[in-house]
Structure formats: structure tokens, C-alpha cells
Amino acid sequence: MITIKKIAARALLAGAGAVFYSHSAWALLPIQHWTEGNGAKVYLVESPVIPMVDVQIDFDAGTRRDPAGQSGLASAVAMMASKGVKALGNAPALDENGLGEAWADLGANFEAAADNDALHYTLRSLTDPPLLDQAARLAARQIGEPSWPADLWPRDRARWSASIKESLTRPSTVAAHAFGAAVYGGHPYGVRTTAETLARISVADMQAFHSQHIAACRAKVSIVGAVTRAQAQTLVATLLSRLPASTGCAPLPPVAEIAALTAPAEQNIPFTSAQAHVLIGQPGFQRRDPDFVPLLVGNHILGGGGFVSRLTNEVREKRGLSYSVYSYFASGLHAGAFTVGLQTRPDQAAQAVQVSRDVIARFVAEGPTEAELRAAKDKLIGGFELRIDSNKKLLGNVANIAWNDLPLDYLDQWAKKVEALTVADVRTAMAKKLQPERMVTVVVGGKQP
């Protein structure tokens, strides 16, 4: 990461009187971007110091695209990537154990998972050429030609269903489910996977989902590591080589947006546990919202800033009510929830809810103080390098830029945007998105045995 060193050198030259954002001159962070002939969009940061590479390939095949009644399908497709691959030329078919051994023998890691928006494959490998080539070829088979072993799905479905059932014995899970249902209505972001939805999923459904969504022309590939652009191109070509050639991807059907809440809702769910789990919130905003930065900063001050936030101060520091109290926006392609969460002894739950509501309402009405905004800027801008000081963290930033079609100089502009914010900007943005009088409150706990 020679480039980053240069940035640091420039920062020192800027001198002590420099404004805060001058020491993160992010124009110098070179994200190379191009589109392959097969349509795949590639984002590369060359980081040559350690002989390793991290790759993330994102597809628009997250759980929001689970068909109605089949919640869990996208995650099942991701899971089946590690259950076996078909034979290819001289390379024999491999079952789940063969794959596990092969990755261990390469000293590499390959995983697949689905979140709300994306189904992503990740690869971490050494860059020794023969090793990386083998790793890429093996990953390609798992991405493109899983063997879909039908006999393993009933086993994995049973295991998955059992763990869902187990999770429902925890107050945190029960609270999250009630909260998701109330905040999202019927939107896929709030639909949960159950034994029943899994029972409706067949291997054929997985294959259909895979062939509809997992195509080279739909891939966004983010790469950070000790590879040149030419090596990265070879790597991408190999990784996507087992997907069928396509002549262009028709747009996928749109997914409905999340409806705003029209009235407040409160659920007190009796549950026998040492703590009550409290969640308060509402639909938030889309990641592409132009107010993303003031909302990020606003949330930082409200409850996102670790030991230094209004919620932590009022709930934990002043009153000792909870070990953990936080707020966040789960922004994605849709308006993922704004959530305030805490856990407290059941007899204190009502008090903790009241304190949290007061903090939220007051913050939305008044916005931050000048001092709070200055402190947030100092922390976020001063600590900006901490967001990119490893390949893994860089990969997260690059994949974020890729997924959300952010400008390549997004990181370059970020600190300036934060620095330029006024108290009014933050207050206005938060007040536009948050309606404390129409929030969902879920309290799980307090059942007398």
C-alpha cells in the first residue's frame, strides 16, 4: 500500500495548522475500474505488500429476492455452493468433504452467503501463482457448476430448522422477529425464514434461482491484494469461467419499496429471561439517499459512536441500565430499518424505553449541539484511515462503492462532505427520516415464571 504511505507523507507536509480533512487526500487511493467483455464490473485496489489477495463477487440475489413463501432460498443457494461440484475435464467431481480438503490443502478460504441485498462469494488466497490459479479454478466451479446434491438438502434443511427453533428460545431472536415484522410490514427485508418456508424449497428451486441470478454480466467483482491489473483480469476471467455465456442480462424485476409507518406500534411480549430485550425504530432510508452523510453523522452522535453517544451516555453511563445500547440505520437497496436496541433487567425495561424515546425525540427535534457535531467530525475524519488500514477493510469499502454505484472518488470526497456539515444539515436530515411519534417499540421479557 505504497499509495497510502504517500498520502501520509503529504499529510505531514500539510502541517499542524491544516484542516482535518487534509490528511486524508483520498484522490490518491487508486480504485481501478473496468467492465469485462462478459459484462462483469471489476473494481481493483493493488496492495502489493503481503502476498495475498481478497476477492468479493456480489450478485443481485440477496434474500430480498426470495420468492413469497420460500424465505431462505437465496441463503440455501449460497450454502449449496460448498456441498459439491460437478466433474470438469480431467478434474473429478468433488463432494463436500473433497471441497473442504481441497481448500485446506490450498491454504485458502472460499465462502458464499446471502444478505438482504446480495449473494456474495468471497475468496482469500495466497498469490503464489500456481496456488492462486488452482484456487480460482476451484472457486469457479463452485460459483458456476455446483453439483446440487439432492440427498444433502434434507439433512441441511433439518439442521437449519433445528437451529431456527433453538434461536427462538432466545429473547433477542424473538425481539428481532417481532420488530422486523412490525417495521417492514410484508416487505422481504422483514420476512423470516422458518421450518415451513424451508420445507417449500426444493433443489430444483435453487437451481432455477441460481441460473436466473448468477451470471457473469450481473457480477460486481471487488479485488484487493498483491495482483496487477493484468493478473486481476486473469483472475476474474477464471472465477467467472464456469458460468454460462450470456448475451446480455435482462433487468431483474423490481422489488417493492418499504412502506412508511402510519401509526406507532408497541408490543410487549412476555418471555422468561434474565433480561428484557428492547428494540425501537422504523423504516430508515436507502443507501443511495443523498442525505447519507448527514444521517451517518447524526446517527453517530445519537447512538452509533461507541462509548461516546447520547444513548450510551443517558442509558448506560448516567443510569447503568444496559451493557449495550446502540442505534443504526440498515441502509440497503431499500430503506432498511433505523433501530435502537438495548437489554436490561425486566423491571427496568419501562424506564429504559422512556429514556431512549426521550433521547430520540429530543435529538430529532433539536439536532446535535455544535460541540457534538465538532466531536463527531473529529472522530470520523480524524479516524478515517482506520477504515482502510487492512486489505480486508479496503475490500469492504471497495465492495460498497461497487454495489451502490458510488463514484470512484467517494472516499476522497467523504471527509470533505463530513467537514462541510452544519448542525442544521444534520437536524434537517434526521428530522426528515425519523418520526419518533410513529415508531415501533418491542419489549421481549418480563414474564413471571
Partner: protein
Amino acid sequence: MQLIVQPDRRAPTAVHMVWLRVGSMDEVDGVTGVAHVLEHMLFKGTKTLQPGEFSRRVAALGGRENAFTSRDYTGYYQQIPSNRLEDVMKLESDRFANNQWPDEEFKKEIEVVKEERRLRTEDQPRAMLAEQLFATTFIAAPYRRPIVGWMSDLDAMTPDDVRAFYRQWYTPTNAAVVVAGDVDVAQVRALAEKYYGSLPTHVLPARKPRAEPEQKGLRRIAVKAPAEQAYVALAFRAPSLRRVDNLTDADRDALALMVLSAVFNGYDGARLDRALTQGDNRVADSASSSAMVTGRGPSLFMLSGVPAAGKTAQQVEDALRAEVARVAQGGVSEAELTRVKTQWIASTVYERDSVMSQAQELGGNWVQGFPLDANERLLALLRTVTPAQVQAVAAKYFGDDQLTVATLLPQPLDAPRPRALPAPGAARH
């Protein structure tokens, strides 16, 4: 006080840590959890800083921070832009030497710690089981007590208990500073001398060995908790890795146990997965192993598993022990050994990506009294472990007499159970 510096010039950031060779194992009965409570109170002020001011200052520097307490050690860290290193060294050395807070701050924070215990232990059946398993496995050794402390000890803890522990154990001779990142060694040394070099020292309390007597027979406990799935954990007493050169037989056995655990559980489709979680008659939904052989206290080899639907914890226990017996009788293959060694070698490369984990390793090694290059030595040693050594330890350490078994008996959510009522006086008014 020792200083350990690991330059890594990839990004203009650094991590600064202070490690203390004191953890929950250094507590005595009646004040369990005090090492961890003290860790919380270090954020509550100094002679010159108000409660919470430390965190506000670190944030103003653009820093991230936290702290951690284990059985063996306590640590504090800040991740910062590297040009802010001096600021955090100044702050950290101040609270190391001058931690001070009014009783009122303790009264609030002890409630936070109790909430932490409820969150992490009381509402987590498998964590509760682990707590009881350690309490049963160890009789004399202080590892028998939970790091967070027993609830009644937290209820009874006083501000002066915490202050006394601080005065006893927080002295430069019991601590190390670890700095990793975009730093110059000579500069860091000068700063360390400036901020830590002149701190007053005092004599540490004697560390009584409190050695665990030999276990004379199998111990078995049940833990009832609201759950759907049963769970079983087996703890076998094991030898410890106490050094990374001039190894004793016990050290060599500990190494072989690390390899055995990797052969069991080190990759997808390794032995435990294959034997317990696959096939038409699989007994488990998951199974794992862990060789806990480095630490200041006694060592354990752990096996655990979650029964599949229709199977019992006893069947999982039997299957886990059958896998040990299979290695004891048939050994392991060269291919398996080569595989786990390849993984370790690769992981040492990947670990270089995180400045934080480099610093954590250096601190962890210091706690053990290991040399700075302990990781390289350990890797070299692991590469010398042979199939015969792995087979030998599988035959040697897995009998009944050194074993404690804990089984989780799932209870319906609505079953009556003792409720953790707040102790008199503990409720806030």
C-alpha cells in the same frame, strides 16, 4: 514495564495497547469479577480526567478504543492515526497510574456489569453450561471461577474492593506496552520512556500456585436451561505448552494435542464433521474440538456437540470419544497432517493483514512469558509433529478419570425456574 514494537508501514495508523499480567485467575473468593470490573472503571477517570473524559479524548483524536479481561490478563487498546500515538500514550499512562473515581460512578457501573453478565451468561444456556463445567473441572485452580464473576459477588462488591485490586496489581513491572503500525521504533521507545518509564513501581502480591490436584475419576454434571437443543461438552485435563524452546515432554504433548484438534475440526469435512454430522444416521448437528493448552493456568482439551433431532447427548458423547479412540488405534494420515500445517502457514500470512491481530499476538505471547518470535517458533515446532505423536496423545489423555462431562438438559421456555431476582439493595431507586 516492557515495550514491544512492531512496525507495519502499510497505512498511517497504529494500535497502542497496555497488557497486564493480571486477570480473573488472580482474584480470590468473594470478589470474583473484580479484575473485569476494574477494567470498566479505568474509563471512569483519573486525578485530572472526569468520568468518560478518556473516551471523549480518544474519540477527538479519531481513535477507536476498548479493553478486555480474560482469566490470564487484562488489556486496553486504542487504534489511532499514527500521528496521534503520543496523545494516547499520555492518556493511557495517566490512567494506568492515576485511576480515580467517586463511589457514585462505581454504583452505576456495577449495574452495567451485571447487565453484561445477564446478557452473556444467564440468558445463554451454552455459556451457562461452560461456566458450570469450569467450576466442576477445577477445584483448587482459580480457573474454576467465571471471568465476569458470580452474581452474588457482583452484588456484594464495594468500590474499595476494586481500588484495592488496582493498587495491588497495576504496577509497571506487571505490564507491557505493545505498539504496532506506522511507527518508528526509536521514537516509540523515547515516548514510552517519557510516559511510562518514570511511573512508580511497587512489589506485586505473591502469586500462590493454587495448583489443581490430580482428578481421580470422572465427573458429570447436568445443566437445565430453556432450550430446544441439547448440548454436551467434554473437558479432558491436558498438559500445557509452557515454553517454545527446550521443550519438555509435556510441552511436546501439548503441541501434538493442538495438531489433534486441527485434524478433528480444523477444516470443513474434517474428522468430527464426517463422523458425527454426515450420513443417514448422523448423531449431531454440529461437533467441535479445542486444545486449550496455552495459558497461565491448567489446560483442557474440549470436545462438544449438538445432538441431531432424535439423537441424545449421550450418543454424541459416545461418538466424540469414538473419534478419539479411532485416532488412538489407527493414527492419522500424513495427508491430514500436511493439510493442517499448510493451513497454519497460510494463516500466518493472512494475519499480517491486521495490525490489531499482530499486536494481540505479541501481547498474548508476552503474558505467557514467550519470546517475541514465539509465533515463528511455534509454527516451526508444529511442523515437526509426527503422526505417531498425535496418535500417542490420543491414547494418553482421553481416559475416564481426567474427564468432566456437562450436559445441557433443554427445558421448555415456560417451565418454572428460579428467577434471578435483584438482591436486596441492588435495585436502583
